[in-house]
């Protein structure tokens, strides 16, 4: 078995509320998963499920009021034991990130070209001129038309799709081994989304990168991911290869998400009843049990482990956090 490129082990993240109560709230609990070389791993969940915090923790970009435990290994090196200065060498060079909102993640007072060049100057010891020339090539690689002119433009002069291309150009500037894309197309229109995802996937194949793709869109997952992590209330509730997730889901939440998708006309949808619980007010036992139609008495007593579903001989890649996973 080859060594994973990224390995997240028992990651927990909690933060203290800023009001007078100063309660400790656990936003991510016991999250573990691997990303192999050149693999696309999708992380799916609804707002507040902890998927963005998980992504940020890999780069150790968590907000100041958070505390975390667990370990993150990147190419065998423990990221959490690194000093801030050492992390700066890793960020942008070996692991980079594409955020959801390109308008707020680009700096409005610098040109697109300079922001790309900055990455190269910081990590590749390039001079400004050389880096700017390289920035033009990167803009060409992300299929921006007339890159020689665009390189001198500011983010506000560009459309949403173009800004996201600039973000991608920054992310791939140093040919990192891992790109984390947090809802990279949520702010974009469908035709632009298709362009961006196709681009990201082609670049990934060309430069043999791994991609951690965070999204709430199951369509995006079905078409691009190889392995899927489903998150609910800060926990991974199911992990499986993408085909297994869609054809043989083994956690009631995953089943619920799939049944919530609009079908053909006239077919009634089966939504998940109720709403996502507040992190400050999580139910005892299985966190999904109050909304679960398969729930039994035992579900409220003890939180189930994320365990292998073993329904095929010798296959252990399908995990579910449900005591009834085998009967579903």
């Amino acid at each position: 078995m080859p060594r994973p490129l990224l390995s997240v082990e028992d990651l927990s993240i909690s933060f203290t509320t800023e009001n007078k109560l100063r309660r400790e709230i656990t936003a991510v609990e016991g999250v573990s998963f691997n990303v192999m070389e050149e693999e696309v791993v999708g992380v799916v969940g609804e707002s507040g499920c902890g998927k963005t915090l998980t992504a940020l923790s890999i780069m150790r970009l968590l907000p100041a009021n958070t505390s975390f435990s667990g370990r993150v290994f990147f190419q065998g090196v423990d990221i959490f034991s690194k000093k801030e200065s050492e992390l700066r060498d890793i960020r942008g060079r070996y692991i980079s990130m594409v955020f959801q909102e390109p308008m707020t993640s680009l700096n409005p007072v610098f040109t697109a070209g300079y922001q790309i060049a900055e990455v190269l100057m910081a990590h590749k010891n390039m001079g400004k001129k050389e880096a700017m020339n390289e920035a033009v090539e990167l803009l060409r690689a992300v299929k921006i038309s007339s890159p020689e002119t665009r390189v001198k433009e500011y983010p506000h002069q560009m459309s949403g799709g173009m800004r996201q291309r600039v973000m991608i150009a920054m992310a791939i500037a140093c040919k990192p081994s891992l790109v984390i894309a947090d809802e990279p197309t949520t702010a974009l229109d469908v035709t632009i989304q298709a362009q961006i995802l196709e681009l990201l996937d082609n670049l990934r194949k060309d430069s043999r990168m791994s991609l951690l793709l965070i999204t709430h869109d199951l369509g995006v997952i079905a078409e691009w991911a190889k392995k899927v992590e489903i998150m609910y209330a800060g926990r991974i509730v199911e992990e499986a290869p993408v085909r297994e997730i869609f054809l043989n889901p083994r956690h009631p939440y995953t089943i619920g998400l799939l049944e919530s998708l609009p079908k053909k006309k006239g077919e009634k949808l089966t939504p998940i009843p109720g709403q996502v619980p507040r992190l400050s007010d999580l139910p005892a036992g299985c966190k999904f049990s109050p909304r679960c139609r398969y729930a039994i008495k035992e579900c409220n007593l003890k939180e189930p482990e994320l365990a292998a579903v073993n329904d095929k001989e010798g296959f252990s890649g399908h995990l579910s956090r449900c005591i009834r996973a085998k009967e579903l």
Partner: protein, 318 residues
């Protein structure tokens, strides 16, 4: 069946600084029958929200006509206008922004009942409880403020408020896009249940969304907008089975499908949506079109009926 809404060559042009004109809605015509769901699809900036505001008379058009139940919406005054306002309601995209943060649910929903003299003050509470029940909220919500509710609950309150005046048509402008997937399905089911109604007159919707699966699921008729114009309109099932306009075709193929066995062949459009201030000459879609040919960059195609109930504006079909 009778038309509940009829729109004829509607235009809304915004003058900009420097003498440019933004043609947000340009020569749009369609009609919606009683109890029908009319789906309107398009990407951001195509004019679909401007169209919603025009229908509600939140904006006045620069040309064209809007008839609601045979009443002229643009010219209506006094009693006719208040009749239109009661019959025609809107649900906005963002339930966080469309509820007054200082009003409790009972006041937000009850206000419409008082203003329109639908119920005396003494009965407001009971009527609001009834409305909340209809949208799947219990009486506990009555004295809550919007910040105490989840996104899905807030959207339900907005729907209850729209229903309070017994409308016959609801314009829903991206009512799902601020909500999570599992909550979206709840709201879709609710809107469908309300449509069938409880014995009363059937409710019609103009349902605006960029989400094609939702349009396919909900609507009877669908229209696709591009740069202020309808480029194709058709019964929904036919539009999805066999799109006629190349833009519709590309739009449908661009949607990632949650189906692992059907790897779709995607048509990737070139470039961005052009700015509605500088609309390309000829067919507005031709610079991005994968099927363009000779006349496309010179002649503007007209929206023409091809077969029963299908209209398309493309030189391929002229």
């Amino acid at each position: 069946m009778k038309d509940i809404l009829r729109i004829e060559s509607l235009k809304k042009h915004f003058p900009l600084k420097g003498g440019n004109i933004l043609k947000a809605v340009d020569d749009v015509s369609f009609s919606v029958k009683e109890g029908q769901v009319f789906g309107l699809v398009g990407e951001s900036g195509c004019g679909k929200s401007t169209l919603a505001k025009l229908i509600l008379r939140l904006l006045l058009p620069d040309g064209g006509k809007i008839f609601f139940d045979d009443m002229d919406v643009v010219k209506a005054r006094g009693e006719t206008l208040s009749k239109i306002r009661k019959g025609l309601q809107i649900i906005f995209q963002d339930p966080f922004a469309s509820l007054n943060p200082r009003k409790r649910v009972v006041d937000a929903v009850g206000e419409a009942l008082i203003v329109n003299k639908i119920a005396p003050r003494s009965e407001i509470k009971d009527r609001v409880v009834e409305l909340l029940k209809k949208v799947g909220l219990n009486g506990e919500t009555l004295y809550r403020y919007p910040h105490e509710l989840s996104g899905g609950q807030r959207q339900r309150v907005c729907i209850a408020r729209a229903l309070s005046v017994n409308p016959r048509l609801i314009v829903a402008d991206e009512p799902l896009s601020a909500l999570d997937v599992s909550i979206q399905a709840q709201i879709i089911n609710l809107l469908e249940d309300l449509r069938r109604g409880d014995g009363g007159a059937e409710l019609a919707y103009v349902f605006i969304s960029h989400n094609l699966q939702v349009i396919e699921h909900l609507s009877d008729l669908a229209a696709v907008m591009y740069l202020g114009k309808i480029v194709e309109s058709s019964p929904t099932n036919e539009l999805f089975k066999e799109p006629l306009h190349p833009y519709t075709e590309a739009l449908l193929s661009a949607v990632p499908k949650p189906d692992v066995d059907k790897k779709s062949s995607r048509i990737i459009l070139e470039g961005d949506v052009p700015s509605p201030v500088h609309i390309p000459p000829g067919c507005p879609f031709h610079p991005r079109c994968h099927r363009r040919f000779k006349p496309c960059d010179k002649e503007i195609p007209v929206l023409k009926e091809t077969s029963n109930g299908r209209r398309v504006s493309c030189h391929l079909w002229q």
